[in-house]
Each structure stands twice: as structure tokens, then as C-alpha cells.
């Protein structure tokens, strides 16, 4: 899809859903893995795979912590990820208008 100029990391259904969900939170907020999974209706394994790819692109950070004795993970969109999502939505809008950059 690179001929459209759309970011290939975001432009895949599952990762687009992940990034759109994280972008709907306020900047500086992070969400627990189970709650993110619930908002996405994805299996834990599937979500982990896509998060790893987003982490590799430095679009998300995953904070591993403990709540009591239970390990917990929190996911946050990085400023780079938020900018990538914003330029992605801007490109989509431009494509729909028929003025692809």
C-alpha cells in the first residue's frame, strides 16, 4: 500500500484499531492490557503480537509493573505514535478528497 503514502505500520486493520483506541485516550494516559483487550475484542496473543510491532516502530511503550503480587502491563501511545496517527488520518482525508500527497 506504499503507493498510497500510508504508514504501513498503522495501515493494517488490527493495528489501526489498536492505534485508534490508544489515540482516543488523552496524551499522557496509559491503559491496562486487559482493558485494551476488552476495547478491541482481540485475543491476548494476537494483541501482544501487534503491540510488539508497534513497540518496534516506537509508536507505543509498554510499561511492565506489579499490582500487589500480580504482574500488570500498561500501554501508551508515544508522541511519535500520536504524530504518525495524525498524519495517517490526514493522508486518509486527502485520499478521500482525491488530492493524494
Amino acid at each position: 500500500m506504499s503507493e498510497t503514502g500510508l504508514d504501513p505500520v498503522i495501515h493494517a486493520q488490527a493495528r489501526l484499531r489498536v492505534v485508534a483506541t490508544l489515540a482516543a485516550l488523552s496524551p499522557g494516559d496509559r491503559i491496562s492490557f486487559p482493558r485494551l483487550q476488552d476495547l478491541l475484542d482481540m485475543t491476548a496473543g494476537n494483541l501482544s503480537t501487534h503491540l510488539r510491532k508497534l513497540e518496534d516502530a516506537e509508536y507505543v511503550t509498554i510499561l511492565k509493573t506489579h499490582e500487589g503480587r500480580k504482574p500488570a502491563s500498561y500501554v501508551e501511545l508515544t508522541p511519535l505514535g500520536r504524530r504518525a496517527f495524525e498524519s495517517y488520518t490526514a493522508s486518509l482525508t486527502a485520499l478521500l478528497r482525491g488530492t493524494a500527497p
Binding site: H11, A20, T89, T93
Partner: protein, 240 residues
């Protein structure tokens, strides 16, 4: 990066390719889903509207002797003791509802919003504790039952109104800000109507204000279901 459908030139894709309209639809759907799990201010306004209407009406009706007997102190008719209990329980119920509803809606989300929420919550709590102590000092200094009744209501409403305005300013929530302004206006009028009309003004105009806020918020959500979403600005086609 060949196993995820992003750079595969051919072959069976794990996911069908996206077109721009489908992508925007996905973004809108996820944004709406996140919004739908946020605290619903319509429910919170309804809880406080009901609490004020019920609580202040109980104070008004017993202070005038329309229901039960007023307590006559220093020649002044105060609401019955049980009416103050009804008022207190109504306020506590609305408070518990607000805290439980917001905490549930925000479970699993940490960071800037959670830390603001916690500090804002403590501001309410400490504000009311400090105010109660100050009012106690006013009574000790010799304020009579009428002064105490008027001052307690005025101070509480000022605090509530200012905190609503501050919350509205921070979250850029005009409904919340407007309710704060309205509460302060109503409470100012209520100071000058004299007792027991103060309680009637608070019940009808104060409680009613929350219900109007609830209706306005409902209409706003129907007009713009993704309101507040960053994408709504970034992703809106120009001229659409």
C-alpha cells in the same frame, strides 16, 4: 515484516487491504467505543439533580410546616431534624454514585488523567472538610441559627460552583462550566430570598439546573457521537 500483511506484494493476506473510507470508519468506531466507556455525565447530573430536589424540598416543606413540624430555635423556624437527615443521605448517595461510577469507568487507565482526577477528587473532599470546620467557628463566634443556615448554604454552593467551573475549564467541558456558573447565581439569589424560601429556590432552580444540564448533554451526544475525539478534527474531510 513479511508475516503481517503490511509489505506482502502478493499471496493470501492475513487481513484484506483497507481502503481510506473503511479506515476512517474503523477509527470512528474505536473512538466511539472508548468514549462510550468514559464516565457518563448525564447520569452524574441526574443523580445530583435528584439529590438536590429531594433534599432541599424536605428542608423547605418541614421549615414551613407543610410537612411535619419545624424546629423552632430562638424564635426561628428551622427544618425538622429528619429533613436534614434526608438531605444528608441524598447528598451522600449522589456522592457515592459519582465516585463509584467514575472509578469504574476509569479503571485500568493511568497517567495524567488519573492523577488529575485524584487531585480534583481530594480538592472536593478537603474543601468541604475545611468549610465545615470554618462554619463551626462561625457558630462558636456567636452566629445564630438563621445566619448559620444562610451561610452554610451559600458557602457550600460557592464551593460546588467554583469546583464545577474549574473542572469545566480543565476538561474544556462547557456544560460543566455552565452548571457551575448557574449554581453560584442560584445560590446568590437564595441568600436574598430569606429562609425558608432559600430551600425552595435551591430545590427548583438548583436541582432543575442539573436536569437541564443532563438534557443538554444528551442532545450534544446525539448531535456529535464522537465529540471530544482528536480524530474528529484531524480526520474530518474539508468541505464535508
Amino acid at each position: 515484516m513479511t508475516d503481517d500483511g503490511t509489505s506482502r506484494p502478493s499471496g493470501a493476506p492475513a487481513e484484506s487491504p483497507l481502503d481510506a473510507a473503511e479506515s476512517l470508519r474503523i477509527i470512528a468506531a474505536q473512538t466511539a467505543k472508548v468514549r462510550s466507556r468514559e464516565p457518563d455525565s448525564r447520569l452524574i447530573f441526574a443523580a445530583w439533580g435528584a439529590a438536590w430536589l429531594l433534599g432541599y424540598l424536605a428542608l423547605y416543606l418541614t421549615a414551613t410546616g407543610r410537612v411535619g413540624q419545624p424546629q423552632v430555635t430562638e424564635g426561628f423556624s428551622l427544618p425538622a431534624g429528619w429533613a436534614f437527615a434526608v438531605f444528608g443521605l441524598a447528598i451522600i448517595a449522589a456522592m457515592v454514585f459519582t465516585v463509584v461510577h467514575s472509578t469504574r469507568a476509569n479503571a485500568g487507565i493511568k497517567g495524567v488523567s488519573a492523577s488529575f482526577g485524584a487531585m480534583y477528587g481530594w480538592t472536593w473532599c478537603l474543601g468541604f472538610v475545611a468549610m465545615s470546620v470554618m462554619l463551626g467557628g462561625l457558630a462558636r463566634a456567636g452566629a445564630g441559627p438563621e445566619v448559620m443556615a444562610v451561610a452554610s448554604n451559600a458557602c457550600s454552593c460557592l464551593l460546588v460552583g467554583v469546583l464545577y467551573m474549574a473542572g469545566g475549564a480543565f476538561w474544556q467541558d462547557r456544560q460543566q462550566y455552565a452548571i457551575g456558573v448557574w449554581i453560584i447565581l442560584v445560590a446568590t439569589v437564595a441568600v436574598f430570598t430569606g429562609l425558608p424560601q432559600t430551600y425552595l429556590v435551591m430545590a427548583v432552580l438548583g436541582g432543575g439546573g442539573f436536569f437541564v444540564g443532563m438534557v443538554l448533554e444528551h442532545l450534544r451526544r446525539r448531535r456529535d457521537p464522537s465529540a471530544g475525539a482528536g480524530f474528529a478534527v484531524a480526520g474530518r474531510p474539508v468541505g464535508a
